[in-house]
Symmetry: C2
Subunit: 226 residues, 2 copies
DNA sequence: AGGTAAGGCTACGGACGAGTAGATATTTCG
DNA sequence: CGAAATATCTACTCGTCCGTAGCCTTACCT
C-alpha cells in the first residue's frame, strides 16, 4: 500500500526528461483519481511515480500546474478518440452512434482519466474548471452542429435549432453522467452503454415504451473499413 | 468580503441551539459551494455564520460531520420537492414533466445547494459519495419504476424494461448535467430547461429533427389544482 | 437570590503538506 | 580527460488549518 510502485531495480536509474514527465503524469492521474485534488499529496505522487518530489517541481511546476497538465492531456486524448471515431459524411444518427461508441470505449479503457476529468476537475473552482469547460464546450458545439444540420436537412427542426445548444448540453451531460453510473456498474460492455444512451436520445421514451428499438445500420454494426 | 455576514447588532446575542445549527448549516452550504470542501476553512464558515468556531464543533462535530450534515439536509429537501411535485395517477409523460419542473424549479431557487450536492459531494471520495449516491439511487429507482410501468401499460416495452435502470440513470444524469449547464447559462427559465430535457428524453432527436414538439396537456401548462 | 447548565469566546497545539536549498552522481562533449 | 550540463536525492522551512483547552457570561429554575 505504501511501497513505491515502480520496480525497485530501476530506482535511481537516470532517464531522459520526456520519460520522467510521462511517468509523473501517469502517477498524478492515478493519485488524483483515487484521492481527489486536495487529498492527493505531492509526496504520494512522487512515490507512485518512483521519483523524488523535487523532480516533479523541476519538470512540471507546482501542484496546480501538474493538475492542469493532467487535465489537458487526458481531455485531449478523450476528444481525439471521439473525433477520430466519427465520419462527417454519414447520416446524423450513425454519426452520433459512432461518437458515443468511441466515447464509452475510451472511458472503459481509461477509467482513471475519466474520474480525474469529470469528478475532480469540475469540483475545484480554480482555473481547472476552465480547461474541462473548454473541452465540454467543444463537445457540445460538435453535437449542436450535428443536430442543427440534421434539422435543416429535413427542412424543419425549428425547435431543435432554437434550443440546439441546450439539447446538445443535455446529451453531453447524459453521456457524462451515464459514464459516471457505469463506473459503479462495470458489468456492462461499452457497446451496451452506448446503445442505451442512443436509444434514449434518438428514439426517446415515448417511442421506447411503444416497443421501438434503435439499431445500427446492418454492415455488422457500423464498421467502415474499406 | 471578509466581514461577518450577519448583522453586527445581533452579534453576541444568545440564541437557542436549533437556530444556531440552522445558521451554521446555511453558512456551511454557502462556503462549501463557493470554495469546495477542502478549500473551505472552518474559520471562514464560522465567520459567515456569525459564531465562533468551537460552537460548530460543539453542535455539529468535525468538518466531515458538518459536510455530511449539509449533504443530508440539501439532498432531503431536493428529493422532497421532486416527490411533492408528482402525482402517481397521471400519465407517465405528465408525471415526468411535473417531476422535471419540480427538480429544476428547486435548483433554480437553490443554486448553492446544487453546487454542493452535485459538484462537491461527488468529488470527495469519502463517505460523502455514499450520501449523494443514495439520493441518486432513489431518484433512479423512481424513474425506472415509472418507465417500466409505462412500458407494461402498453403491453410491450421489452427494451425499456430490460435496461430500465440504465435508461433511468441516463435520464437522471442528463437532468443533473443540464442543471450544471444551467448554472453557467442563467438566462433561461426553469420551465424552459425542463421543457428542453422533456423534449429530448420523451421525443428523442429522431422525432425532434422531424419538427415534432412535446407539449404539456392543455389546462394552462399542467396545473392540477381542482 | 443563588446555583447550575447552556451559550459563547480567545487563544493555542500539533499535524500535515507545498515548495526549496544545497549537495551529489552521471552523462556528454570539446 | 576535464568541464559543463543534466538528473537526482535528502532534509529542511514555513504556512495553513483542524480541533481543543480553558474561561467567561447569560438565562432559567427553585
Amino acid at each position: 500500500m505504501s511501497v513505491p510502485r515502480r520496480d525497485p531495480q530501476e530506482r535511481g536509474k537516470r532517464l531522459p526528461r520526456a520519460v520522467r514527465e510521462k511517468q509523473i503524469l501517469d502517477a498524478a492521474v492515478t493519485v488524483f483519481s483515487r484521492n481527489g485534488y486536495h487529498s492527493a499529496s505531492m509526496d504520494e505522487i512522487s512515490e507512485v511515480a518512483g521519483i523524488s518530489k523535487p523532480m516533479i517541481y523541476a519538470y512540471l511546476g507546482s501542484k496546480e500546474d501538474l493538475f492542469s497538465a493532467c487535465i489537458h492531456r487526458e481531455a485531449g486524448e478523450l476528444l481525439d478518440a471521439v473525433v477520430a471515431g466519427i465520419e462527417p459524411d454519414l447520416a446524423p444518427d450513425v454519426q452520433l452512434w459512432h461518437g458515443l461508441r468511441s466515447f464509452f470505449g475510451y472511458i472503459g479503457a481509461n477509467r482513471e482519466s475519466w474520474r480525474v476529468l469529470h469528478r475532480q476537475a469540475g469540483a475545484q473552482g480554480g482555473p481547472f474548471t476552465q480547461e474541462v469547460t473548454a473541452m465540454r464546450h467543444r463537445a457540445v458545439t460538435l453535437v449542436a452542429a450535428l443536430l442543427v444540420r440534421a434539422g435543416s436537412d429535413e427542412g424543419i427542426g425549428e425547435a431543435a435549432s432554437q434550443s440546439g445548444e441546450a439539447l446538445a448540453a443535455a446529451l453531453v451531460g447524459a453521456a457524462e453522467s451515464l459514464a459516471d453510473w457505469w463506473l459503479d456498474h462495470p458489468d456492462q460492455s461499452p457497446g451496451a452503454i452506448a446503445a442505451t444512451l442512443m436509444n434514449m436520445v434518438w428514439l426517446g421514451f415515448g417511442d421506447l415504451v411503444d416497443g421501438q428499438v434503435w439499431l445500427p445500420p446492418s454492415r455488422s454494426g457500423g464498421e467502415t473499413h474499406p
